[in-house]
Amino acid sequence: MPAVSKGDGMRGLAVFISDIRNCKSKEAEIKRINKELANIRSKFKGDKALDGYSKKKYVCKLLFIFLLGHDIDFGHMEAVNLLSSNKYTEKQIGYLFISVLVNSNSELIRLINNAIKNDLSSRNPTFMCLALHCIANVGSREMAEAFAGEIPRILVAGDTMDSVKQSAALCLLRLYKTSPDLVLMGEWTSRVVHLLNDQHMGVVTAAISLITCLSQKNPDEFKTCVSLAVSRLSRIVSSASTDLQDYTYYFVPAPWLSCKLLRLLQCYPPPEDGAVKGRLVECLETILNKAQEPPKSKKVQHSNAKNAILFEAISLIIHYDSEPNLLVRACNQLGQFLQHRETNLRYLALESMCTLASSEFSHEAVKTHIETVINALKTERDVSVRQRAADLLYAMCDRSNAKQIVAEMLSYLETADYSIREEMVLKVAILAEKYAVDYSWYVDTILNLIRIAGDYVSEEVWYRVIQIVINRDDVQGYAAKTVFEALQAPACHENMVKVGGYILGEFGNLIAGDPRSSPLVQFNLLHSKFHLCSVPTRALLLSAYIKFINLFPETKSTIQEVLRSDSQIRNSDVELQQRAVEYLKLSSIASTDVLATVLEEMPPFPERESSILAKLKKKKGPGAVSVNELEEGKREGGELNGGGERGDNSAISTPSPSADLLGLRTGPPVTAAAPSAGSLLVDVFSEADLEPPTESSDSLLAEGPGDSDATPGCPCMFVCLTHTHTLLSLALRFVCKNNGVLFENQLLQIGIKSEYRQNLGRMYLFYGNKTSVQFITFTTTLNVQSKPVEPLIEGGAQVQQVINIECLTDFSDAPLLNIKFRYGGALQNLTLKLPVTINKFFQPTEMASHDFFQRWKQLSLPQQEAQKIFKANHAMDTEVLKAKLLGLGMALLENVDPNPENFVCAGVIQTKAQQVGSLLRLEPNAQAQMYRLTVRSSKDTVSKRLCELLAEQF
């Protein structure tokens, strides 16, 4: 190609680009590109060497074509050749092409690395910078491997130019971020810290980004940077706006550097050295003072830069949380911003205030701004700012201003944005509960809440109000009166009906004396809502009616009439129908004494952490605010329910069978709150059940074939006594529970229910056909004993089978169940393990502390003990652990282990041949999230098996 005006740009490239721009359609563009590619290919193919200029031009064109979105699969070699050129422009284009186009797996990477190495070792600063930029732009692991050792050397070398140092620092930062394991700390780290003293501000700015990142991972190695940073900061802060020349931005000296310094300091606790600390406090004061000065310029850049430093300083003050004086000043400063014209400033101020509110020093100072914040909530135009204002109100709430804040939030709720309503409702509910001094106020607030934003009130909120009303005698009458009044509104929310039904059913007698709320009036009021409600609510109302019969015998005939009506007793919903029938019979057969026993008032609920708080935590990510809430929750937790109720624990732990039987067995309030250990268990395992069933079934299936190879000589004998099909698999999650869904796929669901007594067990298996087509030739085989089965399951039908189990001796393999059936034309084959494990035959043994340790010592032979140390798979919640251990079947012994954190259990495994006593000790370590599990039993195989089984459970 003849040389065309070299030097001033590339004409060929310009022509090509303008051709492309002039193309009228995509097709024309593609044609032009194809033509150009063919041209470049023929040029690159040509045997005569191209000069640097043409090479550069064609590589440029290729790059342009690539950026237009076309694939480029050649020209890499030419680009690499450009790297060794001595001309800046050629080198630059080469590096550009490589950083855009070359991926790590290319074989050219060796050549490229070589070229980069040459440039790094050259003394030419521009070449060094180009190479460093290329490394950073590619930033791959390979690059890090090749150069992670080299760059620190360049960074700290004495004779490196400033511009190169900047590039090197940023390049190293990039490599550290992509592959931190390859950047090794060495003696250079201490010298990097000294870059903070560098003359050149650019170097300092680049270095501080690197140091901040490094010190977050290895704070100790970079400790020395604190004092350097403080002195640097004080020099900048105290300098006049003209001192730093190039680094003064709209009269603010080095704003970026200042922010970065302040951020670096936030990685460390307050400096211990008094002098350094004094200097730092001085700096922070200066920054706060400067904020008060009139602005030097009206430009927005000036105030932005100034405020950036200020906010960074305030977050440092909040981070230290040790200078009351500074905290209060920061708070006042933020207070000024609350009414600032700039929306962003208001937002930031509210956000910072939220964190300030949690500090004990500034909490009071924050509270002084309550009026402004409430005003912001009401008048602010920007929704995100309103959200922040609501957060702040929540954070600044305490006993003194709770009533005001809750009232404001309630009134705001009526107009609040839909997106934040649910969160607001939760917050109001929590605040009302946490700071309630007067329970009638609490009841009023929650009922108001349901009235205003019923749709957003989650189940937890109204469960909670019922729990509280039941646990507090003094509000029960008031609550009954209030709900009665609230229900009189022509349209009331379903949640209100639920609360009303429950409370009137329990405490309707407390207001029955007033002729305006006589029993019949109460009943009619509730029944007028009945037809507008969903099925669960209707079920709840039916239970309320039967309680009415108990409370007010005079309503009996009316209510029986209602229960007897076709719409109840022949309701298409099984649940409602069953309730209607049962309640009707109960009311007509049972004597008043029996009724009174069966329909006794609900016992108080056990004290637990508010489920609402848990919900709010789940809703919000781990942010500053929620951390706050956690702390607050701890500090103030249980205050409401504390009081005198603790003594009732004995009553709580004995389940009241009557309430369980008839109260609201399937109604939502009981599942949430029933005091029996059984329902606690349900609660605990409901989480485990949430795991996608398909996943677990997959793993079961995968497990199946391997297990079937194992010897079938299971030492336990199983006898099938009944007629239908058999069997299931052992899922580990059945170790601690007896009922649940064993297996599920698109076709078949297998449910299981089992009970064990001594060495005998009975297992019910339910085969549900989920399809509408019948399964034919359905057979099940147990690897111990098999039996022909009825070969049909109709579509949608369920078949039950009972297996009786007798444990002859101890065992470790579970029996296998093989299921075969035809669905459509295809033969389905399943192999599952039955969930029969040795622990099912446990008999709990209660024993005192010294008995326990005596037996523990007796079982001291090494083979009698099995121990395992393992990491926790689930959260270490004491209640959950207890429930799981109870589900295991052993007795959980309280006050035996000197360390209250530990759990000890004792039990005897009943087999036909012998009895195997077992002792268990579980030591959780909350810091390390580890457990140590020790099992001792009189038979070594049992210890081992138990240990294996249990290790998977926690």
Binding site: N34, K35, A38, D73
Partner: protein, 441 residues
Amino acid sequence: MIGGLFIYNHKGEVLISRVYRDDIGRNAVDAFRVNVIHARQQVRSPVTNFARTSFFHVKRSNIWLAAVTKQNVNAAMVFEFLYKMCDVMTAYFSKISEENIKNNFVLIYELLDEILDFGYPQNSETGALKTFITQQGIKSQHHTKEEQSQITSQVTGQIGWRREGIKYRRNELFLDVLESVNLLMSPQGQVLSAHVSGRVVMKSYLSGMPECKFGMNDKIVIDKQGKGGTTDDSGKSELGGSGKQSIAIDDCTFHQCVRLSKFDSERSISFIPPDGEYELMRYRTTKDIILPFRVIPLVREVGRTKLEVKVVIKSNFKPSLLAQKIEVRIPTPLNTSGVQVICMKGKAKYKASENAIVWKIKRMAGMKESQISAEIELLPTNDKKKWARPPISMNFEVPFAPSGLKVRYLKVFEPKLNYSDHDVIKWVRYIGRSGIYETRC
């Protein structure tokens, strides 16, 4: 039903915008431009959906026609309408181009008012439209009140496509059978798929209200007659290679003038023709297709940097016939850096912009063969992908119908005027073109 119709130029600027229903807003115009015309990835589907709105588009040279609707319409109907719209515009101002559309935009709005009513397609017969939508080049011949009332009765009457009282001194009739043959063939010469889609286009200059009857060698008709005992010798082939008597038509559609009831019962095609040019029927056949050309490819890879291609084409029809406008397109790999071509006949050239060697032959008689050989130099790439070897495609034009269709008769009856079938001068022409005619290599 169609909610609106937009016409865009290649830049996506709206040239014509006609909205028929309220549910189509102005933003629909932009939605189509942004998501289809200016889409980052080329949109290949002719139907696209955005925000519960469906867009049906066709593209003519650089012009986009888009029909928009929010309802669940019959997509085939919409496309039929769009193509009809293109035909109508072509009939009014020949080529559809940005220039022509801008010059005729009043006319186009007038046409759109006429052929779509509240989104329902109306009479789109060019002949009929031309009688009352007259602009520029088309002079109006009807000024009297009487003639105007005649138009009304014609457009609203039973035979909307023909007006009364047409008179010609010479009753003449032209019949064109236009077919396009599509083929996909394996390198070994096995037919993977082949079909012919054909059209019968008629130009009639007949007086009065003539009743026409069209007959061709449809298998069902011939078989029926064969059963009846009459042998029809005129069915013998004079064209193509095979002497088959009848063809099996897979499916066909007719112009609105054809009496479908008669076709359904007797399979005879009888109609009162519109005046001037129109498309009488469309059909498709897949059996016993005469393939006018056979392409025999030979590709040899010599190392990583060289490729040798040899392609032979053989014509497969009567030696007395001449194929025209033959063009063979041989794709080249994407990393081609140079090509040398040698061919005996015609001209061949490597077109870099299309990544193909294009070989053109003006004329070629039947039962001949010709060949081309090319050496392709390749640039080694670091891409491990193998070249996908796209098929070799071909274009041509032959003077017979590759489906084997033949016109047996076209009878004209006009009882009111005194000319008979013999007085009408009839011309028949067959043209077979290539559709997508590809051979894998």
